[in-house]
């Protein structure tokens, strides 16, 4: 395979080679921290390092450091991205050290974790980074040996030339390779030649995690560092009026300062990730966490309702105006509003054939309405950030998914140019979308600037859970028209939510249905929402797949075969032209899960639910086996089939799929946030029910479709369809269909 080197990544290689090529970097002790401390596992450090490009440097002893560009929040890109570089470099993985790259958009482009796009977006660039380094090593050897580079072979960090009998390690050639110009074109390996990609490698941070090393921003320490917390309005729809007892709180033990901050300047332009319900907060700063916690509890503030307003958001899809209503909102009102809007015509997003006529002529119409509540992300590491503002420069270390989105906001708010802002992307204690909205970094920087000291801002769990950026609440009504012989004539979906619609009008079953109508609606709100693992898909998949299950039953068909038949239509004679899924790959995961789960050979005690979905360019299908014990559902096993193209690090990919499945089961059973007069009704884990060990599936089997397609998303795709698998299995177990999440709303709380 030969891919032109003129597209992705070319600029960054050149850039880095201009700035660092030939530059000799001595190996200092900071590298010692990146590997486990036990002696047998520590690699001997080189005396000299040679920078080859922005993604790697090679030591004179053959040890290679690979810089991983995207933030890590548990999806294991810190291991799998360097594996891609190492593969094309052709180096022994045991000689690879991994370092988190600095945030540097010029060198590394868009350093973003989210949308399941990490590996897919880096695939070509990381391969070229490794391949071009290998090319430079070969060129260096060719010059040294006076032979053609084409005749030089590499194997795990060793260059050999058969004709002359010469051989050298990468370490021996590193100095010369660093002087070789970056190639215009590079040869990439064939998939069949991969020795690292497709072969499981352990998490490079594993040892540090299990020994409790300081990996997270919350662990950050600095000389003279103060602790800061915030006090935010107790309800959406309120804003700060005044602080009532600042002086008394300032006089408490260990407290340095109490003041209010505004996250945005007047009229500052906002982007799509600048959502923030509480742009004015009270900051409490002191010596220790406990003292600040006491002061925070003692602080009294007055809050006042704000008036409705509009703001312009300059998001990914261009500029748009968002209306934020005034008022204190209630979950019961949301439900009534959603029912009312669902009863009216929505905005038609897609129409195929003549659905109205099909419904008019139908012998039987099935109509079912599905709903789901707001969800909080509840990352285990609460919102936090370290910040220092000194000599006109800002240093921030914190958990974030999109440094490139927040840097200009910090710059605009503090009036400090982006060149003087340094962001360290710490390992995140979970993300799930929450940390794409890193307003807390602006807050931390403002607080640090105000007190003129390094500070660590920490939200309590209560602050974190009641701060917004929730998965929205949604509702969808599906209708199907059947003729007198139970043939499917039409499908109609009408979906909406607060404040956004979850609809994907061009996904399956669109394209497989002759007469199809998709409508949507939305309701404005001042409760802030944001991306949550597979946004919108995480509701639509469950609704759609539950409905298809019920439809198949009504039509007297096997639920897997019913889906396969629809997909057959979409393959052979698709309806419409805007179908944004590949019906053959969709079929592939259904067939794989059917085979691996032993579909149709079930145990009478086990109740099976099937579900499949496409999102983030990948395909996922689950068969979930459920039993009932002591009146409670027990997930005995989930069999999962995935098509995400080439799998870079199989065991880590399985881990992430398992996580998505557990997350889905947990949210299907328990996940829910509600509001009374704008106040979130849950603020910690005694109220917000999270899935625990005893409720997790007893067994999970993950199977990947084997193909040579470039990698597509994996962090999100296994998550949405699990809601449908749970609902469908629960129906088989109980005889009752479940339409409203969470399905175990009224069950006992654990804790």
């Amino acid at each position: 395979m030969s891919i032109s080197n003129k597209s992705v990544g070319r600029r960054s290689f050149l850039k880095s080679s201009v700035t660092t090529s030939g530059g000799m970097v001595l190996g200092f002790s900071w590298l010692a921290s990146c590997r486990p401390a036990s002696k047998e596992e520590v690699l001997a450090m080189p005396e000299q390092w040679f920078d080859i490009n922005a993604y790697l440097k090679i030591g004179d002893n053959g040890v290679v450091t690979i810089y991983t560009p995207n933030p890590e929040f548990g999806q294991n890109v810190k291991t799998s991205m360097p594996m891609i570089v190492a593969e094309e470099l052709d180096v022994d993985w045991k000689k690879v050290l991994v370092e988190m790259a600095p945030y540097n958009a010029e060198l590394y482009g868009f350093q973003f974790t989210g949308g399941s796009r990490g590996i897919a977006s880096r695939w070509e660039g990381l391969r070229k980074a490794g391949a071009s380094a290998r090319h430079m090593l070969k060129e260096a050897a060719a010059q040294a040996w006076q032979v053609s580079a084409d005749e030089i072979k590499t194997t795990e960090g060793v260059l050999t030339h058969e004709g002359s009998g010469n051989s050298a390690t990468y370490g021996e050639m590193a100095a010369a390779a660093a002087q070789i110009p970056v190639p215009e074109e590079v040869e990439l390996k064939e998939v069949s030649e991969f020795k690292i990609i497709g072969h499981s490698k352990k998490n490079v941070d594993g040892k540090d995690i299990v020994t409790g090393k300081p990996l997270f921003a919350l662990d950050h320490q600095a000389e003279g560092m103060l602790i800061s917390m915030i006090v935010q309005p107790p309800a959406f729809g309120l804003r700060l009026k005044s602080i009532s007892n600042a002086d008394a709180v300032k006089a408490m033990p260990g407290i340095k300062d109490v003041f209010s901050i505004k996250t945005y300047s007047e009229g500052q332009e906002k982007g799509g990730f600048d959502t923030n319900a509480f742009p004015e907060l009270v900051a409490v700063v002191g010596n220790s966490t406990w003292e600040v916690m006491q002061a925070k509890k003692a602080l009294k503030a007055e809050w006042e309702p704000f008036a409705a307003y509009s703001e312009t958001i300059n998001g990914w899809r261009g500029s748009s105006t968002v209306n934020i209503p005034a008022g204190l909102e209630n979950t019961t009102d949301h439900k009534a509003q959603m029912e009312a809007l669902a009863a009216k015509p929505g905005n038609v997003v897609r129409r195929d054939g003549n659905p109205e006529e099909a419904f008019e002529n139908a012998a039987n119409v099935i109509e079912r309405t599905y709903s789901a509540p707001y969800l909080a992300h509840n990352c285990m590491e609460p919102v936090n950030s370290f910040a220092q503002v000194k000599d006109g420069k800002v240093f921030i270390a914190g958990p974030l998914q999109a440094p490139g989105m927040i840097e200009p906001i910090i710059s605009a708010r503090l009036g400090i140019p982006v060149e003087d802002i340094d962001i360290e992307m710490t390992r995140m204690g979970g993300g799930f979308g929450r940390r794409a909205y890193s307003h807390y970094m602006v807050e931390a920087a403002l607080i640090a600037q105000h007190v003129d000291a390094p500070i660590k801002l920490m939200y309590t769990r209560e602050d974190d859970m009641t701060n917004g950026i929730y998965r929205p609440t949604y509702q969808a009504t599906y209708r199907a028209a059947l003729d007198e012989n139970n043939n499917l004539l039409a499908i109609h979906v009408k979906a909406g939510g607060v404040p956004e619609s979850p609809l994907f009008a061009n996904r399956f079953p669109a394209g497989a249905i002759e007469n199809y109508l998709a409508e949507e609606w939305s309701i404005e709100s001042n409760i802030t929402i944001g991306a949550f693992r597979a946004p919108r898909s995480n509701f639509m998949a469950g609704a759609e797949q539950s409905f298809l299950d019920e439809l198949a039953e009504t039509m007297g068909q096997d639920p897997i075969q019913f889906r396969l038949d629809l997909l057959k239509r979409a393959i052979e004679n698709p309806v419409g032209e805007r179908n944004d899924y590949d019906a053959e790959r969709y079929t592939g995961v259904l067939e794989l899960v059917k085979e691996k789960s032993g579909w149709g050979q079930g145990d009478a005690e086990l109740h099976r639910g099937v579900s499949a979905y496409f999102c983030h360019n990948s395909y996922a299908a689950h068969v979930l086996d459920l039993s009932i014990k002591n009146g409670m559902p027990v997930v005995e096993k989930v069999t999962c089939a995935l098509d995400c193209g080439i799998v870079v690090n199989p065991d880590a990919a399985v881990n992430m799929a398992e996580g998505g499945i557990v997350d889905g089961v947990g949210n299907a059973f328990f996940g829910e946030m509600t509001f009374v007069d704008g106040m979130p009704q849950k603020n910690n884990f005694h109220q917000y029910r999270m899935i625990r060990m005893g409720e997790a599936p007893k067994k999970i089997e993950v199977h990947f479709v084997q193909n040579e397609i470039d990698p597509t998303g994996l962090g999100e795709p296994p998550f949405p369809p699990i809601f449908g698998a749970v609902a469908n299995a629960m129906y088989r177990a109980t005889g009752t269909r479940h339409y409203r999440q969470p399905f175990l709303k009224d069950q006992r709380l654990l804790g």
């Binding site: 486990p36 020994t211 320490q221 309590t460 997350d663 947990g666 910690n684 060990m693 005893g694 654990l750």
Partner: protein, 152 residues
Amino acid sequence: MATLTLNINGERRQIDVDPATPLLWVLRDNLQLVGTKYGCGIAQCGACTVHLDKVAVRSCTLPVSAVGDKSIITIEGLSENGDHPVQKAWLEHDVPQCGYCQAGQIMSAAALLKENSKPSDEDIDAAMNGNICRCGTYTRIKAAIKTAAEMR
């Protein structure tokens, strides 16, 4: 403020602190032992689990004044080289995703195995139900606990 002497990871450490301070914040703020994590502050998530005289406790709600002479072991002191059977099993199964809750999970698992060298699935569920893993690594945690039990 009071001056207290704690027995932590086999060392005696003196601190000057408000005696009502939960052990978690003494570990993290005063002693720079940040492996023990804050997750909820109300003993509901287990991220702050440490051993107090070999028993797993939630350090976020334990006032430091209640510790007395009892021996405290944190994740940093569980083993000298990160080679406690539970830690080794965790690496073998490549359990962590984000990793934030794992110190607490490991401390709960190590305490369980001290009490019960061959725990059943139900024993593991009961002992580990106080530890939330938001990433959903429960099936791996269970498998790793069984592997650790075999190692001992």
